[in-house]
């Protein structure tokens, strides 16, 4: 009997302790907190908005390794020229042959919008190029276009038109070495329609590159694929836009002097509003390659605030991710430890730089509102230290 009672009591104590739960104490403790009896009071929590100035900075960057070559225009981006370089080295058996006809093959893979075309002309470059270089303007070329066998100098490049005749005298001169060919520039013969593009294979795609195809007297044929190719893109619109491929970055500068030194930061964000009407996510060709329209961004704190310095181009990463450049929306890029580090003096405030994270691989554009209520700003949440009343 006694043993039973002892076990029952022990079980009751454990059951009571384990099974009961308490209500929140906050409401009944509030008066002790408010009148100071408890003696601890959390510091004030504030949200501050700090204006940000965004300045576009061009950091020339090549995109010679893209898998597609583009001509046309798209939301401020101007794909002005495609540069092609050929290696005309021939076998010993062909070296003495004469070209009877020649064609330049530009394997168009995608156009936008449907049935879009670009009027182009072909010119001999005056100097060669390297697709590992950064080329921000169309190189010098002979002003006179290369005619075809019928004397035509302009051609409509589109899905249905991808091979064009070349003057055989010129081709024989290139192949024989009598007139070395540094390269061919395929340029606009007339400004294309706004927001229309034509895309063709680059050699990096690994199949069916741009090529000069010849038929020798006697019927034999030969093909010379592009040994180097490059899309020359320009962008001249003002305002804060990050453009991959050109490498146009945006340098955001701000002043944190309004944050108290005693503050502890919960979170901070660079808040931007994207301009979907100006954004370029992917061309039709990009989508055909399985690429998405998302814009991968990289935000860093530069090692130098001097935009001309090489140190401006590198720094400490703050955030990276993707955004949809063709949708107008407010995005908040978390700054993580950047603001606390600046407030503690662990790093200098040289602003923040936003760039495409595929700057050397894809041509995309993310544009941001720059003024008015949509202007960029820093949003910082911080709390001041609690008041404990201190030691006596």
């Amino acid at each position: 009997m006694k043993r039973t009672i002892a076990y029952a009591l022990a079980a009751l104590a454990m059951a009571l302790a384990a099974s009961c739960s308490s209500d929140p104490e906050g409401p009944v403790m509030e008066r002790f907190l408010d009148d100071g009896t408890y003696g601890v009071k959390a510091g004030e929590t504030r949200r501050v908005v700090i204006p940000v100035t965004g300045t576009a900075v061009s950091v020339p960057q090549g995109v010679g390794t893209a898998r597609l070559l583009v001509l046309g225009r798209m939301r401020g981006l101007e794909y002005r020229a495609v540069l092609l370089k050929f290696d005309f080295t021939r076998s010993a058996a062909d070296s003495a042959k004469t070209v009877a006809s020649a064609r330049l093959r530009l394997p168009v893979q995608a156009v936008s919008p449907e049935n879009a075309s670009v009027l182009v002309s072909f010119h001999e470059l005056l100097e060669g190029f390297d697709d590992a270089d950064t080329i921000v303007a169309v190189p010098a070329y002979r002003p006179g276009p290369i005619p075809d066998s019928l004397g035509r100098t302009t051609h409509e490049l589109g899905l249905g038109e991808i091979e064009f005749g070349l003057d055989t005298a010129s081709v024989n001169a290139w192949l024989s070495g009598r007139r070395p060919l540094p390269g061919i520039a395929v340029v606009w013969a007339a400004p294309p329609d706004t927001n229309s593009t034509v895309e063709m294979n680059a050699r990096e795609r690994g199949t069916d590159p741009c090529a000069v195809r010849v038929t020798y007297a006697g019927g034999a044929t030969g093909s010379f694929g592009a040994a180097a190719d490059y899309t020359v893109v320009t962008f001249a619109e003002p305002g804060p836009s990050c453009v991959g491929g050109l490498a146009r970055r945006v340098h955001f500068t701000f002043d944190l002097v309004g944050i108290p030194a005693r503050a502890a930061v919960h979170a901070s964000f660079l808040v931007l509003k994207t301009r979907g009407d100006l954004g370029v996510g992917a061309t039709a060709g990009d989508l055909g390659l399985g690429l998405t329209y998302l814009f991968p961004y990289y935000l860093y704190a530069p090692d130098s605030a001097d935009t001309l310095s090489g140190d401006f181009r590198k720094g400490t990463g703050v955030d990276q991710g993707t955004l949809d450049p063709v949708v107008s929306q407010i995005i908040r890029l978390p700054l993580r430890g950047f603001v606390p580090d600046v407030l503690k003096g662990l790093r200098a405030n040289r602003g923040l730089v936003l760039q495409s994270n595929l700057e050397t691989g894809r041509i995309q554009r993310a544009a941001f509102a720059s003024f008015g209520e949509d202007a960029p700003y820093l949003e910082i949440y911080y709390t001041l230290p609690a008041d404990f009343g201190g030691a006596p």
Partner: protein, 402 residues
């Protein structure tokens, strides 16, 4: 060997573990040092904390250290308490459950009438965790959270001597230790937000001496008195913040004044006994609590109890002791100034010997109130269940060691 004492210790561990979900002491205990704990077994509590002059050979957890001289074998005792209360503060109410850490003592008789004891006694305890929604103008909403942990305890080394059949005395050296931690955290329910924490740690260290006597001038009358020296705590205080540039520390002294108490127990009949106790400590200087300046007064306990002791023979109910009592404890804390917080409790209880040998289990039920709406604007209606266990065993050398 020593299985009963080990089993009792294991049981204590189980109970402490099981009580983990409960939280919070009295809401008044989050201020100043916390809620005062009077030491003693559940028998002492069942008698309304009035058993200071009552001898009890079953326990090492005693109200009066001089009673430790009565143990005749190695005795392990513990006490713990579970409370459930309804708190009213203005229009706010809350039901809160509480668990108080055990008092644990082991007493060892070195020879007949002389015993030493060592253990752990909680002096003050305060626990609380409360939070409030935090609205940030123009932005995300957060939470303001407070966490309070206070524990001042003593590790006594006690010697008790039965100097005469009618007189026992005890002296105790107490290592006084403890900490009071307050943490204020502002947090947001968003993974991109970090918590901002401000924390104050106070570490208390000191020593004290205490002495007590237990006299039986008559077979139906016992008298007890005790005194505990002032405790001069060295307090180390550190502040730490998420913004660690603000971290700082300080050291200062805190003096808890001496306390004294006196009690009496008188037998009306062989089995029916009355008991009473008075205890007092003057107001400490509220060092470290400047917001409480003028709000700290003397602490006082007045208690009464009646016990029908168990009969050696007879039916079940005759062999079960019955206990009842009443006590009023005036806290050091006055809320607001001039209006002391008072605990008033009616108590009931009983107990029985451990099956199979020396030892006891006692329990008490307390029904009462801490604070009052009229005086303090806050009251807690409290039900408290306490239990103490004690296991005794005669220890001897192993045969191989003889």
């Amino acid at each position: 060997m020593k299985t009963r004492v080990s089993a009792a210790a294991l049981a204590a561990l189980c109970l402490v573990s099981a009580a983990a979900p409960a939280r919070a002491q009295s809401v008044f205990g989050a201020s100043f040092l916390g809620e005062h704990r009077f030491t003693g077994s559940a028998r002492h509590r069942a008698l309304g904390l009035s058993a200071y002059a009552v001898r009890d050979s079953a326990y090492a957890v005693v109200a009066n250290d001089a009673a430790l001289a009565d143990i005749t074998s190695v005795t392990f005792s513990l006490f713990e308490s579970f409370s459930s209360s309804g708190v009213r503060s203005g229009s706010a109410t809350a039901d809160i459950n509480r668990f108080q850490l055990p008092t644990v003592m082991i007493g060892v008789p070195l020879k007949k009438g002389f015993a030493v004891g060592v253990g752990y006694r909680e002096r003050f305890e305060g626990r609380g965790e409360f939070s409030y929604p935090l609205a940030v103008e123009g932005g995300s909403s957060g939470v303001e959270r407070y966490r309070h942990r206070a524990s001042l305890f003593a590790a006594p080394l006690t010697a008790a001597w039965k100097a005469a059949p009618w007189a026992s005395v005890a002296a105790s050296f107490n290592l006084e230790r403890g900490s009071i931690v307050d943490v204020s955290t502002v947090l947001f329910r968003n993974e991109l937000f970090g918590d901002v924490e401000s924390r104050r740690d106070r570490s208390y260290a000191g020593v004290s001496w205490s002495g007590s006597v237990l006299l039986d001038p008559h077979s139906r009358l016992s008298l007890g008195a005790g005194w505990n020296s002032a405790i001069d705590y060295d307090v180390s205080e550190s502040f730490s913040y998420t913004n660690d540039a603000l971290d700082s520390s300080a050291a200062w002294d805190f003096r808890l004044p001496a306390s004294w108490g006196a009690g009496a127990a008188a037998g009306i009949t062989e089995r029916w006994w009355l008991s009473s106790y008075y205890w007092r400590r003057e107001a400490p200087d509220p060092a470290g609590y400047r917001q409480l300046s003028g709000s700290i007064g003397a602490e006082r306990l007045v208690s009464f109890g009646v016990e029908r002791r168990r009969a050696a023979a007879g039916g079940f109910f005759a062999r079960v002791p019955l206990r009842a009592g009443y006590y009023e404890n005036r806290w050091h804390l006055e809320y607001p100034a001039g209006r002391p917080v008072r605990s008033r409790f009616f108590t009931l209880g009983s107990g029985f010997n451990l099956p199979g040998g020396p030892g006891a289990i006692d329990f008490s039920l307390e029904f009462g109130r801490i604070g009052s709406i009229g005086d303090n604007g806050v009251d807690e209606r409290v039900f408290r269940f306490s239990m103490s266990m004690s296991a005794s065993e005669t220890w001897s050398r192993r045969r191989s060691e003889r």
